[in-house]
Amino acid sequence: MQAIAEIDPLAAPHARPHGAARETHDGAGTFWRKYVFSTDHKVIGIQYAITGLCFLFFGFLLMTMMRWQIAKPGEPIPIFGPLLQAVLGDTAAKGIMSPDLYNSFGAMHGTIMVFLAIVPLAFGAFANLIVPLQIGAPDMAFPRVNMASYQAYFVGGVIMLASFIIPGGAAQAGWTSYPPLATVVATDGQTYWIIGMVFLITSSLLGAVNVIATVIQLRAPGLHWFRLPFFVWAQFVTAFLLLLAFPPLESAAVMQLMDKVAHTSFFLPAGLAVAGPDGHVSGGGNPLLWQHLFWFLAHPEVYVLILPAMGIVCEIVANNTRKPVWGYKSLVYALLILGFLSFIVWAHHMYLTGMGTKISTFFQTTTIIISIPSVIILTCLFLSLWGGSIRFNTPMLFALGFLPMFGIGGLTGLPLGFATSDIHLHDTYYVIGHFHYVVAPGTIFALFAGIYYWFPKFTGRMMNEFWGKVHFWLSLIFMNLIFQPMLFQGMAGMLRRMADGGANYSAARVPDAVGGLSNYIMQMNTMISYAVWMLGLAQVPFILNFFYSMWKGPKAPSDNPWQATTLEWQTPTPPPHGNFLTAPAVFRGPYEYSVPGHAQDFTPQNQPDRPATT
């Protein structure tokens, strides 16, 4: 037990790797081996983080331009308009986004945000960076597979980006790629999309295998299942979702690829006529088949977007309330049930396809059942705040922001879960508002929380608190100004995916139309767009803070600046290759904060019951 006392954070504020110990293996290699083709989970995690943040920015950039087109249909986009025209040519003639281009940008905003930004950040980056550390492992179980996972992601991303500049531009059929539209658009964007997706699916598969195997095999001695931090549980379940839900989309993608290039008609019904009968189509296919396979992935996918976020928030809430999370076991069981149920709710996205009321009834039932474990998790996290002496630092603010935002996202989902109310709301901005509450002020806030929280572990420096708080409050305000009006626009009947922001259906244009969109509803478009651009500006403090702190921020006072209990804080800062100086052993649960009778208000998991005598 001598070893443990040696790395006790209180005994020595900064554990130091012994001399060249950190330069073992490929750590000693060249720049390429060290930063590009590294097999170290931390380097790969950072690669995921940087690439993912770039894509997040890019996906947002697309939206800033789309919002201009919605707010001011037919007017040239300032600054970016001429740029678009220069790069993309006629589809942005005079700096005005054509409807085709709007469709491309919309489809790619969705695709990029989901598959290239949030999943790689929430799962690729955070699971890679934190899971091995939290379970006391030297690395992931399969380091080279891990590297391949990032590379597949990178190639997938490049293919998606390349599709913007090919003739005809990127995919136009939405992130959902429904046929017949996806198949009959004559350009190659969709083919790029499919091939890009195959790479991304491969990447997820490799990552998922790795995370699951790592958690099962590499837990430190004593770290049995119910001592795992909730974050690890969340990533574990997420990995299963990725592992099992993605392959059916891959089979669907293969079939769509066949439809595009081999002129099969898996998804095209017989007798389909699009601008004249198509001689190449043999017919006999079923467009609903695609929707089933797509949503079989895409519903679990939304849990892939949210579960890691919940994991992050849970860690930060426990740490900053200085008490154990409320209902750890309920959290874990709810998570497992959620993971399981997420596989049998998919057709709630298809109530309006005419798949039949019996099937709808089944999926309504499962959908409403799945809300129970979600509510349990949220409730546990809320109750954890009760009676805590809360430290309102930046990570905690973002975590606290997450709770009500995710709450709104979840509650606005209930009317979509019932076929009756979904008839009215389906395909409107209400849906956009609903799921963005989950993924934008929800997941993204949790990601920010995680970045502010774990930043000192990997850089040895703290981020600036003041600018962190500015970042939080501005983001919170603008996020709500963006997504709340969308709920009302949707209820008023404004459809999504409209290049003119609904102007065509406005009461202003067709005064005596029934249900025309009122001026009031239409004016929200402009307000939302301004809020989107302001939200963009609100990220400037974050970006500056991030880079400034990386080089110039105040040094973290110790290896464990937040005085946390979990294992990632019991390593040197930054953790060397191989992470721990000596193999850690675990003696207690993850959240032993404020245990009565202990000297400090936190007891690290690797602290033996009777502290080693020195």
Binding site: A21, V145, A252, F266, G284, G285, L293, F296
Partner: protein, 314 residues
């Protein structure tokens, strides 16, 4: 000075799970593979159940050939197990023998499969134009547009398959000796040139007659060589994936499976060849690798065990 922590359980099992890392890895990978093929199998079911009566082909594949391939794959699974057992018994020579056999069988499978593919890609369904035999003995190919009031409207082939003169030709009834409606010639390619194509097959009146090749009638089909000129053709298409939904799913499923066979063969080939050097330095780890690749191979085999009845027999 000590080195950093090493990844544990790379080749020895972890006591509480009883597994070494790669074994968990391959099981997880196979779970995802089950979902991948599961997606395609469910597509098969949905498409087949949804197909209108008489549009889903039966008996289009050669059962003896498929059976042979099934036997080949099952045998290769056995040799795979033997190869692994040989490693366990420290008999490297026997390992080489058995995995050599596995490789050979894998290649046999791919060979037979390519033969079957080739058979489909040289199998044509040619839809023929209507035929107008004129009183003066001349024959015109094209589409009969109308035959009323003593006037025959006929859109005449340009001489290219599926292409017709812009305006239909008009014939008086008296000029026309006979109207032969377009039939279908179905058969294998004998010869193809710019000005003709020769198929060895038979002629039917309706596409639907080609659907059930297991029927009694189908078994008595007489094949003969039929030569067609481009002007005779309304359309001509091979039995590729584009031909109909059954062939689409057939090619997709077996193609994906064949890729798995090739991938597996590549890994086994590596372990048999350059990768077998590991036997000298770390026999335990090498044996594990053989086991892992074997598990994958059994999976590939298993998929075929499902594919064979579904595509050939049902």
């Amino acid at each position: 000075m000590h080195a950093a922590m090493e990844i544990p359980y790379v080749s020895t099992p972890r006591p509480d799970t009883g597994l070494y890392n790669a074994k968990i890895g391959i099981w997880l990978f196979l779970a995802s593979e089950v979902m991948l093929f599961g997606g395609l199998f469910s597509a098969y079911i949905l498409l087949r159940v949804g197909a209108p009566d008489g549009t889903w082909p039966e008996g289009w594949l050669n059962i003896p050939v498929g059976t042979t391939n099934t036997v080949v794959l099952i045998t290769s699974s056995i040799t795979t197990v033997m190869a692994w057992a040989s490693c366990k018994m420290k008999q490297f020579g026997r390992f080489k023998l058995f995995h050599g056999l596995t490789l050979l069988l894998a290649m046999t499978f791919v060979g037979i499969k390519s033969y079957e593919y080739h058979d489909k890609f040289t199998h044509y369904e040619a839809k023929l134009n209507d035929q107008l035999v004129l009183a003066d003995g001349k024959t015109v190919f094209g589409n009969l547009v109308a035959n009323t009031n003593g006037v025959v409207l006929f859109s005449v082939s340009t001489g290219q398959p599926g292409e017709y003169e812009a305006t239909p030709a008009k014939y008086a009834q008296a000029q026309v000796a006979k109207i032969v409606p377009g039939q279908i010639v179905d058969g294998h390619l004998v010869e193809r040139a710019a000005d003709h194509i020769t198929l060895s097959g038979h002629t039917v009146a309706e596409h639907a007659e080609l659907m059930n090749m297991r029927s009694a009638a189908a078994r008595h089909i007489q094949h003969s060589e039929i030569t067609l000129v481009p002007a005779q053709l309304r359309s001509i298409e091979t039995y590729g994936p584009w031909h109909n939904t059954y062939l689409a799913i057939y090619f997709t499923l077996t193609g994906l499976h064949a890729l798995h066979v090739l991938g597996g063969a590549l890994v086994i080939g590596y372990l048999w060849g350059p990768g077998s050097k590991l036997w000298q330095t770390d026999p335990e780890r090498f044996t594990n690798r053989v086991e892992i690749s074997g598990l994958f191979w059994h999976f590939v085999d298993l998929v075929w065990i499902f594919l064979f009845p579904v595509l050939y027999l049902l």
